[in-house]
């Protein structure tokens, strides 16, 4: 038997990770019209309609920020979150249903490598779409280019995309059928996103809904991200960051445990 240019165990893990990440990126890049251009257009439509209808009627942050400007970070973050979730979950469920997940299960890829590659691939998609939405909306609110705290915005974008990518991975592992995945998306991810303050400041809500919003983890991602733009937020950004980071950690551990046990993947 001849041996070919194989690397050591450490190099093999690196190569395995790099390859799976490359595969995940190539997967959405090959259909980028659907995976990048379409969500950017959707966010743009939201901006056009909501800003047109609500600009003169809604006051946010005591009038310190125009509604259209307020809306942009919400839409950017929503695009980041939804596309991170969509990428990881659809990649997993498609591979499971078509059976080609076997190509990933047969090689010596560790749970950490699988987790890292799927999540990072999904984060890249989410962040690319988010940047696309931001770039397009700058045409409407050019002043937004001067972020008050860019590092805060980046931290929330990264953690938010990691959380939704991990949720997508978990949903993809859990679901056996497309409609189960759609249920996860429509009955959990969508309501949590829409009720997180993408389109409004929670201070405009009745007290009951304000309290309830504090139990929505997505609220802290959006609020913290918006702080990065305006230096204004509904709750202190440090608290949001701690909660979001904790959620990212807990979900990562849950996903890693599932992968290590082979739950729903190795029967």
């Amino acid at each position: 038997m001849t041996s070919i240019g194989s690397t050591g165990s450490h190099g093999a893990a690196q190569s395995g990770f790099a390859t799976l990440l490359y595969k995940e990126l190539l997967r959405f890049w090959k259909v980028s019209f659907q995976t990048i251009a379409a969500p950017v257009l959707t966010a743009l439509l939201y901006l056009l309609i909501f800003s047109h209808v609500l600009e003169s009627r809604v006051t946010v942050f005591n009038g310190q920020v125009r509604y259209t400007a307020f809306l942009v970070p919400g839409l950017v973050m929503m695009a980041v979150l939804q596309n991170s979730f969509a990428n990881a979950s659809s990649s997993l469920i498609q591979s499971k249903i078509t059976g080609n997940l076997i190509f990933v299960l047969l090689p010596p890829l560790s749970p950490l490598v699988m987790y890292g590659a799927y999540v990072l691939g999904a984060m890249v998609r989410g962040l690319v779409v988010g940047l696309g939405v931001f770039a397009v909306t700058l045409g409407f609110v050019p002043a937004l280019i001067d972020l008050a705290h860019p590092l805060w915005a980046a931290a929330f974008a990264l953690l938010g995309s990691a959380i939704l990518a991990t949720l997508g991975l978990i949903a993809g592992i859990w679901a056996d059928k497309f409609d189960e995945l759609a249920a996860f998306q429509n009955f959990l991810i969508m309501p949590l996103t829409f009720l997180s303050g993408v389109f409004y400041s929670i201070h405009t809500l009745p007290p009951f809904w304000q309290v309830l919003s504090h139990f929505n983890p997505f609220f802290y991602m959006i609020d913290g991200f918006r702080y990065g733009f305006f230096g204004l937020s509904d709750v202190p950004p440090g608290r949001s960051l701690a909660l979001v980071a904790a959620a990212a950690l807990v979900l990562a551990l849950a996903a890693l445990t599932m992968l290590a046990r082979g739950w729903k993947l190795r029967h």
Partner: protein, 312 residues
């Protein structure tokens, strides 16, 4: 030298179905080994356990001495599996598919071997075609290529020739034989028993989660009388009357161990001036052996069944 595959007491139950009921099996390095059995016998479950796709309820499985659970990295690196189902990733071309599979095994610069694989699998002209554009037989060959990208010392082929036409089947087997000559251990499941008979040095027959026969192909074939002679003649030579297995009027059925015995029968017929009206010979093939073993193990207590023979 570690065995290519070592399986000890492997059992697996799916709900109420005992897919594997305690399998012991050893395949030495360099063997061309056949795993035969009807659908539902447990062949694919056994292969899935070796590949780490399924977990055993109990028992141990090792590939080249590496436990498939505790030392899964080494075990999987040593194993190449051609799955039974025709699966593919529709996003990629043939070459991308093979490159990606190489990368999963830690091989970054594998194009020379990928080109060789494409050549042997007659896919060179399709290297840049999308997987979706390939015929079923071509997709099957890409699966073979994917299993071989990391040059695994142990190769498992689960029904690899289903849907592949005769000509390509021959060239595929030529390639697999070459790999076997080069030292790779081959484990094959197939429904084409003539393929198993022609290729495999040793065969395990499975039924209902158990191994009901395990022997060299030659021994399995000779386990039942090697040849059956169907002779139409007025009578048998005196010396051969004791060999009569069955008689239907003037048609005598005789069991022969070897072709050599045929000469003796013909001489005896000549010596006693018995005219041969008709004579036909039927050899034992693996299909007959398979059917008899499967039938035998269904009705007889396993310990007494002709099939339940310990490993040779």
């Amino acid at each position: 030298m570690a065995d290519a595959v070592e399986v000890v007491g492997i059992a697996r139950r799916f709900g109420s179905v005992q897919a594997l009921a305690g399998i012991d099996l050893t395949v030495a390095q360099g063997e061309f080994f056949g795993l035969l059995g009807p659908n539902g016998a447990g062949k694919t479950t056994l292969i899935s356990i070796l590949a780490g796709l399924t977990r055993a309820d109990r028992g141990i499985a090792r590939i080249l001495g590496h436990d498939v659970v505790s030392d899964y990295r080494q075990a999987r690196r040593a194993l190449g599996v051609v799955p039974q189902e025709l699966v593919f990733d529709p996003f990629f071309s043939v070459r991308e598919t093979l490159r990606i599979q190489s990368g999963y095994f830690g091989l970054r610069h594998n194009d020379a071997w990928i080109d060789e694989l494409l050549h042997h699998l007659d896919l060179t002209s399709k290297a840049d075609a999308n997987m979706r554009a390939l015929s079923g037989g071509m997709k099957r060959r890409v699966l073979v290529g994917q299993a071989l990208v990391h040059k695994p010392p142990v190769i498992v082929l689960d029904e690899p020739t289903a849907g592949v036409d005769v000509e390509l089947r021959q060239s595929l087997w030529g390639f697999i034989r070459k790999l076997n000559r080069d030292g790779h251990t081959i484990i094959l499941t197939t429904h084409y028993l003539e393929e198993a008979e022609a290729l495999c040095g040793r065969i395990a027959m499975m039924k209902a989660g158990r191994i009901v026969a395990l022997d060299t192909t030659r021994n399995l074939l000779s386990r039942f009388v090697g040849l059956t002679v169907r002779l139409s003649a007025a009578r048998l030579p005196d010396a051969w009357k004791g060999r009569l297995a069955r008689r239907e009027g003037a048609v005598h059925y005789l069991g022969l161990e070897t072709y050599g015995e045929l000469e003796g029968l013909l001489s005896a017929l000549r010596a006693e001036n018995i005219a041969i009206d008709e004579l036909t010979l039927a050899g034992t093939d693996l299909e007959q052996v398979f059917l008899r073993i499967m039938a035998g193990s269904a009705t007889t207590d396993e310990a007494q069944a002709p099939a339940a023979v310990p490993e040779a």
